[in-house]
Structures are given as C-alpha cells and as structure tokens.
Subunit: 603 residues, 2 copies
C-alpha cells in the first residue's frame, strides 16, 4: 500500500522562510489566534489525520466504490467513520467565520489541510470538498436566515454541500441549462430537471445534503444571463433546524468512472423539489463563480497533493529496487545490483515529480496568502491588489497544477516500471484519480480562455503587469548577485517575453478573435512555467540566506537549490515550445474543413 506523509518540513519552509507567513498572519484580523504554535499544531494534527485515518481507506475505497441502493448511496467502508472524526476534529469550521460557528482561522490553513487530504485520499476529500464552495455561496449571497439555518450546518460539518451545474447536454455552456424553477406563493420555488456529474450528490456521511442548483425562472432571459441559483436541501429543516422531511431530489444513478471510485458521482433528479433563491434572480452565474473560484483553486491543490503522494512512493521504490549497475560503475557493489535511484533517467523522473510538488506548493501558498487577504482584510489597496493577482492566478493554479499533477503521477508509474501498472502498488490509482482534475470545474481549455481572454486581454494586460512588475522587481533587486544569475537571468528574459507574447496575441486578436483560443492553452502553460520560475528563484535566494547561517539541516537547503536548478534546466525550457506554438496563430488550426478531418478512415 502506498504511504503518504504530509510534507511538513517543506510546508514550513515555504510558509515560515519563503513567504513569511508569521508576519502575514499577524496582520490578519484573526492574527492573535494564529500563533506559530497553533499553526504547527494544526498542521501536525492534519498530517496525522491524513496518514492514519484517510490513507488506509484510499485503496480500499477505490476497489469497493460506492453503491446505490433504493435511492441511497453507500460510500465505501470506513468513509463515514472518517468523516465523523473529521467533524469531531473541527476541521470543517477551521476557516469559517465565527458568526457562523467557524474558528475564523485563515483560509490558507484550510488549503494546507486540503493538500494533505488530496495526497492521502482524494475520493474521500471530495465529500467535504464541495461544502466549501456551497458555504462560500451562502456566505456571500445568502440571506441572514439562510446563513443561520444552512450555513452553520455546513460549517459544523453535520451537513455537506454540492454544486449542481452540469446537465447531460451542457457543462461548459451553462446558458443551455434546462432545469426550471417555478415560483411558489410562499416565496419558495419548485425545481425540476436533471443534473449530472454531481460529486457527493448523495451519500451516507452526513445527516443532510444541501444542493446549490443552477436553474431558470419562467421569465428568464435566454442564455447565461437567465440563470439563477437555488438552494435545495435533501431533507427540509424541521422545527429544530434538523433534517426533517425528504425533499423531491433523488440520486438516479451513479457514474462508473476512471478514478475517484470512492466518491459518489451522481445523476440527480429534481422533481418539483423545494428550493430557495440565493442572491438575485438571473444573477446565478455570478453567485456560481463565487463557489467556482474557490473550487478551482481546490482542484489545483488536488493536482499538487497527488504529485506529492506519487513522488514519495516513487522515491521509496527507487531507493529500494535493485536493477542494473550505474553507467559509471557500481554504486552498491555489495548488492546484486544498484538501487535504481543511481540512474540519471530515474533521477530525472523523480526530480520532475519533486519540482512539480515543491513548485506547486509554492504556487499554492503564494496564492493562499492572496486568498487570506481577499477573505479577511478590509477593503483597500492591498486587498485590491490581492484580488487582481488572485483572479489572474486562479486559472493557472487550477489548470497548470492539474496538468503537471497528472504528469507527476504518470512519472510515478514510470519509475515503478511494469509494477506501476499493477493495482496493488497504488501508483496507477493516482493516475486515474488525477485524470479528473484536468476536467472538472472547467477543463484546462476553459481555464486557459479565462486566463488569456478574461483575466489578461480584457483589461489590456493590466492585471498581468501587476504580477510581471513584481517579478521584474525581484530580478532587479538580485541583478548583481552572481550566485543568483543562473536563475535571475533566464527569469528576467522570460518575464519580459511574457509581456511581448501577450501583446502579440492581443494585437492579432483584434482582427481575429479565434487567435485567443488558438494561443490560450500554450499561453496558460507558459504562464505557469514562468510563475514557478519566479517562485523557484525566490526559494534559491531564501535557501542561500539560510545556508549562510550554517544550519544543522544544511542538506535540506542544498536540495532546495538543486531542485530549483533542475527546474530551470529541465522543465523551464518547455517555455520555448509553448512560446513557438502560441505564436503559430489560428490559421493552421482553422484551415481544415470539419468534414475533412475524418477522410483517412471514413468510408
């Protein structure tokens, strides 16, 4: 069975040393409650929960899957008990506001916990995972009563939430949805329609499930401007506010999926179910994006968690498995062969995983500080800046980290050779589980359009400039440091190329909108690589400063610099390809007639 240890040492490096979280936390309203001791205790307890409670259920959950019996879904054995412990440990309320029963701690702490959950048991994590989004929607758009009746239940974890967006004929294009909401005299609505791909749509972990459902009012405008958001509880709250009568929403079937077998992916049938409007009529899409943005970062963290898990197990295998001698001569002459970690190509794969995990962690924790500020600081210049950067980086976190997370889990299989393909080792499950992250909450293609179209070009690159200026400043501040030159040199070049590429696409897009779609995925990947290069360069500076004090764990900091070097030498060159490809333009993509694509095989 695969092992998983929360990478606490690396988390502490990124938090305490690289991004100075102690000062960051001190500046937050809840600052006094977030002492380094509290943070350390939370992380350690989270690590224990992940390894001792969730990890043992990961492979068994994959094998057992979920069962639908008489409209009720049974999650795999042990999932319910693990959820009970999760609630008992107070985890759901960690970052929620005190007025809703939360502990008021910064969201970043919750994101660190997410990484641990995703690394140990992604399928389980998707049960409480969607509650965050539902809670966000209620917090931002719910009435006071809705918050009192429903949000508090989500915060305490006794009820969970879902996001019901997709329908059989539409996922990306929500303007096409057919689910209807009929107003009732009592101010409620009767919701009818079918939603698919509803993660944790039905299960036996919690007492009640709150569905946040996109639907159309009778008089709604066409398309995405006519969508409203509704709250549809599985059980209506009774007089005591507990789960009461059954509402008209049932799970029609479970999807059979490539991975995350332990999570119930449901077809949900709404048959005149009672629902309540959240936010204003026809403004559901905006409310949905409140849920969606948090969920997107959450999915990026899934990519990170799986990359770390795969790396840890591939590393253990590579140290243990004896196969062939090193090309430069035996390294373990006393053994029948050398451990495969001596082979440069095995190291290339391991370092790829390591760089993805550690780079991804820096990106997530950089973003997490922005989330803290956006969520907990009062309005002002700092929060505005954080909102801008968060908007820019959200699609990058989502798509870039899931693309790389999938790559990392595949490298993990590859390190194991044929054994990687065998279920027993658990490496192939990580690939199957990771595969969904590139798809749900908006595919990589959708994230790329969001980044290039909405976040970058729509404001003439102003948001991007906020970020590239920050990188530029870092480069300038370290321009004279010779030891930093191998990092700052390439970074500075790529950073200015980023602006040039953006301008180039923007110019072309003025005469042909297809240019945006033609460049977008390469643009997103390029953006991701440059962003990680910036963070790796900062990590080198930070590690060098630490080394100057001759610490007892010098090898940790040396490894940091070596990993950054690997990243710059072996992953960052991918920007060359992405730059060339995004400059190729739309013509070559659009030239072929749709009818001609299949002429090689169509009879």
């Amino acid at each position: 069975m695969p092992d998983y240890q929360a990478p606490l040492r690396d988390m502490r490096f990124v938090m305490d040393e690289l991004f100075d979280y102690p000062s960051h936390y001190a500046r937050l309203p809840a600052g006094d409650d977030v002492s380094p001791d509290v943070v350390a205790a939370i992380l350690e307890e989270g690590a224990r929960f992940a390894r001792e409670v969730l990890l043992p259920l990961n492979q068994s959950g994959d094998r057992e899957g979920c069962r639908l019996e008489g409209g009720e879904v049974k999650a795999p054995s042990g999932f319910r008990e693990a959820y009970r412990q999760y609630v008992e440990g107070g985890w759901p309320s960690l970052a929620a506001e005190p007025e809703h029963g939360g502990q008021g701690l910064p969201p970043s702490l919750s994101m660190l916990l997410s990484e641990m959950i995703c690394g140990s048991n992604l399928a389980w994590g998707m049960y409480p995972g969607l509650s965050h989004g539902a809670a966000d929607a209620l917090r931002h758009h719910g009435t006071e009563e809705q918050q009192r009746v429903y949000l508090t239940k989500l915060v305490e974890g006794s009820w969970t939430g879902t996001m019901c967006l997709t329908e059989p004929h539409c996922g990306t294009d929500l303007g096409l949805i057919k689910t209807r909401a009929l107003p009732q005299d009592d101010g409620s609505y009767r919701i009818s329609g079918t939603k698919i791909f509803i993660s944790a749509g039905e299960h036996d972990l919690a007492d009640n499930i709150l569905h946040l459902v996109l639907a159309k009012l009778p008089d709604a405008p066409e398309g995405s401007k006519g969508i409203s958001l509704f709250l549809v509880p599985k059980f209506m709250p009774d007089g005591q506010g507990e789960a009461g009568e059954r509402n008209g929403v049932v799970c029609g079937s479970l999807e059979h999926k490539m991975g995350i077998h332990g999570n119930a992916t449901c077809v949900m049938n709404f048959d005149g179910a009672t629902g309540y409007l959240i936010g204003a009529p026809n403004k559901g899409l905006a409310c949905m994006f409140t849920m969606m943005n948090a969920a997107r970062i959450g999915v990026g963290i899934q990519g990170l968690g799986l990359a770390e898990a795969s790396f840890q197990n591939a590393l253990a295998y590579a140290r243990d498995r004896l196969q062939m001698r090193a090309l430069s001569g035996p390294k373990a002459p006393e053994k029948a062969a050398d451990p495969i970690i001596v082979h440069p190509d095995v190291r290339r794969m391991l370092l790829t995983q390591k760089a993805i995990a550690e780079g991804g962690r820096m990106l997530v924790l950089y973003t997490a500080q922005l989330v803290d500020v956006v969520e907990q600081c009062s309005a002002g210049e700092e929060r505005e800046r954080a909102e801008t950067l968060l908007g820019l980086l959200t699609p990058v976190v989502k798509a870039f980290l899931t693309e790389l997370g999938f790559e990392a889990t595949n490298e993990g299989v590859q390190v194991f050779g044929g054994h990687g393909f065998i279920q027993e080792w658990g490496m192939e499950q990580m690939v199957r589980d990771a595969r969904i992250t590139r798809l749900y909450e908006g595919t990589t293609g959708i994230q790329a359009l969001d980044l290039l179209g909405r976040k970058v070009l729509m404001n003439q690159g102003e948001s991007l400039k906020v970020f590239t200026k920050e990188i530029h400043k870092f480069c300038q501040a370290n321009a004279d440091d010779e030891a930093m030159a191998p990092f700052v040199g390439p970074l500075a070049k790529l950073n200015s190329q980023w602006g040039e590429l953006t301008m180039g696409i923007g110019m072309k897009a003025m005469s042909d909108r297809e240019e945006v779609g033609a460049a977008s995925v390469d643009y997103l990947m390029y953006s991701g690589y440059v962003t990680l290069a910036y963070l790796f360069a900062r990590s080198v500076k930070c590690a060098r400063e630490a080394l100057a004090d001759s610490p007892s764990d010098a090898s940790f900091y040396q490894a940091k610099i070596q990993t950054a070097r690997f990243y710059f030498e072996r992953l960052l060159p991918r920007t060359r390809t992405h730059a060339a490809q995004m400059q190729a333009g739309a013509e070559g993509l659009m030239a072929m007639d749709a009818a001609s694509f299949g002429l090689g095989f169509e009879v």
Copy 2:
C-alpha cells in the same frame, strides 16, 4: 460504445502513394502473391474482422476481465470465439514461411493488421500478439524438429506463445534471474522458478501454450552472459503432435491492472517443468532479442492503434456536441450552440491526435518496409542498410509512438470533457490500455538507452548517418521548391542539429558515462519528432503531386498538407525543449544525494 474503422484510405495513401508499396512488394520473393488486389482484399477483410468481431468485445472484455479457476484462466466472453474466427481466417499464418505452414506474405501486411487489432481491442490482441515473438525465436533459433512440432502450431494458430522473462525482483536487469534449468539425461531440462507479468500466460483460447522461458543452467556464468532460452509447453505434444500430458507449469495468479483487463497477465510457476533448449546454452539473451525486437515494434503499433481509435471517437463527439458559440461568431446559428469542433483549442487537440495517428502510421509503414527486406530479401547491401535503419528505428517506434499514443488517448478524453472520465464512453479505457505500452517490452527509458547508447553512440553515429543522409538528400532534392520551403527549411535545420547534438553528447559521454542516461529520453523524443517531420514533409510532396492531377478527392490531399502544417507548427517545436534539456547535462541530475530527495517530508 466507441466505434473504430480501420483507416483504409490513409493506409492506402501511405502504402501506394507515399512509399510505393506496389513496387516494394514486387521486389520481394513472394512478390507475385502480393498483387494490389490481394493487399486490398486482406486489408478490407482485416478491417471487417476488427470492427465486427473484435470491437464489440472491447468494452465488455474490460468490464468482465479474466478469471482464474482451478489453475485455468477464462478469458472474457466472446474472446475464444473471436480467436477461433481469427485462426479460421488464416490470420496467424499470414506472414509466416510456407515451409512452416505460412502464407509467405510480407510482414508489413501483418503489421497493418496489427494496427487494426490494437485499435479495436488491444487486450484481445495480446493473446495472439505474443505468438509472433515466440514464432520468431523458433524460426531463427529452433532445431528443425522444434520447428516441425511447435512452430507449425504457432503458425496455424492452434497454439499460442508467450515470452517469460520477468521475475518478481527483475525486469530490465535480466542478469538477475533466478529461474533454473536442470539438464536431464534425455536432453530435456527441468525448469523451476517464478515468472511474472506473463501476458496470455494462461487462457482458454487455444489448445496449448508454448512458453519461451529465460533460465539459468547450473554452470552458467554470472549475469546476463549466463542466460539460456527454453521452450516449455503447457501440454506436452502427444504421439500425434497434439496437446497431450500436462507439463509442470501453472498460472499462480492473475494481476489486477490499470488496463488491458481482458488480457490475462499471469504469474507463472514452473515446478520442474519439462523444457527444451532453444539456441546455444548461455546465449539466451541474443535469442530473446529476436523476439523482443519484433515485440517492441508491435508495442509501438499499439500506441498508433489506440491513437487512431481515440481520434476517431473524439472527432465524432466534437462534431456532435454543441457547446458555446465560436469566438468569431455563430457557425451553426440554427442550433442551440455550435459544435465544439469550431473552437480552435478543440481543433488543436483533434489535430494533435490526427497528426500522431497519421505520423505514427507513416513511421510504422516506413519501418515495415525495412522489416520486409530484413525478413524476406537475401543478404546484400540493401538488406544490410535495412538492418541498420531497423535497429536504429526500433526503439523510436516503440517509445516515441507509445508516448505519443498515450498523449493522443488523453487528448481524446479531454475533447469529451467530463464525459471522457466516464467508462460508458470508452475514452478512458483507451488511456488505461495505452498506459502499459510505455512500460512493457522495455520502458521508454530503456528504449532511450538502447537508441542513444547502443544504436547511435556505440558505432560513432554511423547508423544515424545512414538515416540523416537520407533526410539530407530529400531536403536537397526539394531545396528549390518554394512550396516545400516551410517544411524542408525547418527539417534541414533540425536534421543537422540532430548530428550536432549527437556529437555533443558523445564527447561528454567520453568523460562521464552518466551523460548518456541524462540525455537519452530527450534524445529519443527529439529523434522521433525529426523523423516524423521528415515523413510529414514527404507526405506534403506526395500530396502536392497528387493534387496537380486535380483528383476527385482533392480534399483528402489538402487535409494531408494541413495536417503536416499543423505538425510543423504545433508539435515539432517540442524539439526546442528536448534539445535544451538534453544539453543540460548530467550534473544537475546527479548532484543531489539520494538521502536528500525526501527531506521535505521524511520525519
């Protein structure tokens, strides 16, 4: 359920128009039997068999899997009957020699059939698939009697073969095998040991199974110089040459795998089983490579087959699925939304698949001509040249086409969005099935070492020069053709860079052998992309010539040119990254202490 149509039109283009197979066949000894009509009939009948017999069993076989009951393996429903039809159709004997009961047709025809089988049902294809390797070993290294008793059975298909190499503690490093062979007075051997990952090691499709087993003689030298090859039948032939008494080899268990569930991957226990030496004592590794090289090309074809299958289904979905309007305005205003094939990023994914499938097909059929010459022409300059090129290209076909095949199947899932993750659609099965191809018969890393270490550097790049010279000649011959400039220009540059990169690594490797392993995978991928660039450039020239005659199917040829353009603009730029990465050298990979890799998480 996914569909699959053998891409006959494209196969004919590559065979008849691009590589002039009619003349090629005419020059072979069996030339008279390989008229264009015969070829057409074989391809059409193969296409029918793949689509009508194999395809309907692909999803059901994945779901049902194999069962081990009392030492006997039951293949999924329908597999046995399909195999009966396969034998009845004479397919196993297609390319075998007449003296062993074969039809003596060129191996290339068999490779075309393989693509169809892999595209429609890879798991099924792995039952007869291993027989080819076993037959090759017997043909090249078996005694006349062994050929008469055993090879003829493989050729007629009533018996199948396996390759028993891997053991629990060794796969790549066969010098470590522990299986023993004790000589008996009657000239036979008693084989004892455990082999794992034995594809089709036990099943109910054929009357008997012939295991080709690597084992060590009592007095064998250490390591890979002390390995011998043995033939171990499941049932000993009786007086009539039919399956008689049970031999001491049984299937101990079946592996639970990520994919190819329909194929039985067996742990085989040899307990004093009777075996016969194939070839000379202690020369088993050379005999094994006879099997292995054919098998490696076969696995490359699996990557191709799955790429094509995934492409066909993604294309159908992209034409059908309505989602969003084109960025440049509605393309199907009469519908609720545009089919997603209008979106440039969806086209990018489809064209990636198409280019991989069509490029892969060109590479396989280029290689297939070499196989024909090596197998069927008498010794001489042409055969020597073909042997050189075949040796060079075998690891490229194996690794490059499986890496790209896996990418293509993943693009197929991505085109389907969330539906791609659902088993019902069949797209995720292709990913799971494709995943093994990067691993078995030598991982990508092993192929890369074979290419760079053995095939290129060991003879100072002489073999490579045979190929780069051919490319150079093509570039020179088309240097003045302006229409060819966008293809010939980049190709010529990359072709000379290929030589320079090779020389650079060779120089570095003289002082540090690790440089070979550090560069090898990037080198292999680079080699693959340049090779496809050459073949795509030739396809453009060929298509342009066809267009000059104003054919009725002009759009087919236009699409050929458009696909090549896409390849040059959108896939070939990956060479930039691979070139940069392979030049980064070994130091950055070797610097980190094995102990330091895990410092971020190890407690």
